[in-house]
Amino acid sequence: MTTNRPWHLNTFLDALIYELDRAQDTLSVKGANRKLTYMVKDMSLDLQLFPEFDGENVHFTTAKPGETGASKITFQLGSIRDHQIQEIAKDPLSHDDISIDEIDLPKEANKTLKKLGIYSTKDLQRTIEEKGIDLDAHTGETLDREHLSHILDRERRRQNSPVVSHARFFRQNGRSILRLEGQNLMIYPENREFPVAVLDGVKVPIQTASETQLQLLIDRDRLKTQPGKLEVALDRYAIITLTLKT
């Protein structure tokens, strides 16, 4: 015997839309064979339900035979065409985006963001950086700002991976300098802790650092006997590793 379990509104609507899509698919096949077919332009459903609130979510139980005093809830669904779906639907999560469910966020912060329609780091970036919306004003400061800014920085780094295209030694004022050229090397110029470079575990002084170029003071003679492993931390999220030989 099936039990009359309570259900959530979004899962009910998903099931209802799935059923309507199935019906519409059948009608489309029928349309290929018949001259005249009909489509469901819109639909409304009045349901006899018992809503319950458990302190966090509202769920509904469908009224059973003999039960009185149910609430009536009306759903009105309109049909839309493919191009309209593309216009209003959220883009699916792309490969360079991260769902907020995969980020180590406190449960409360996760819920708060979802309430604001923010489901991925790109959504978050768009909201804060592009649209300049002050989340604190809308969330009663329940979100940890520092945590969010780390997420945004990581997202920015994910979209702008560092690339080293050239590496060469040159001498300047009698000192040997390794110049690394590329793209997206330093994308957080405001962060003064970085870059940090170590050659075989020994810290290497950095002469200059920019988005396209890094100059490191490296004693080239040290590399004559054996290759050296150079590691450059560009920020908290990106490390370049190079093997240097002369």
Partner: protein, 100 residues
């Protein structure tokens, strides 16, 4: 097999037989494709749009994981007895699909 069990099983089968997946209910309500033809005058008529308002029995099943499936049917019982099914209400507005 014990008699009570077999009764329970039968009532289960009947319950499911009464309710089709909701998609099938909608499909049945959209089957109005036939043209109205008058061979004498050689003219045809067709239905441009249809509005259906009807009571509906619904079976909303939520499984343990919270997934919901919806079954439904037109009223299976019209004579009032002590316990009547719950009638929800469905309104459908159908129009000719000119894009197919």
């Amino acid at each position: 097999m014990n008699t009570n069990d077999s009764k329970t099983n039968n009532s289960n089968i009947n319950l499911h037989a009464l309710h089709s997946p909701f998609a099938e209910v909608v499909e049945q309500l959209t089957g109005w494709e036939d043209l109205l033809e008058d061979p004498d005058s050689n003219s045809t008529m067709h239905v441009e749009s249809i509005d259906i308002k009807m009571p509906l029995e619904l079976q909303v099943n939520a499984d343990e994981s919270g997934e919901v499936s919806i079954g439904g049917s037109a009223p299976t019982q019209t004579i009032e007895t002590t316990v009547m099914p719950v009638f929800h209400r469905l309104k459908l507005h159908l129009t000719i699909d000119r894009d197919h």
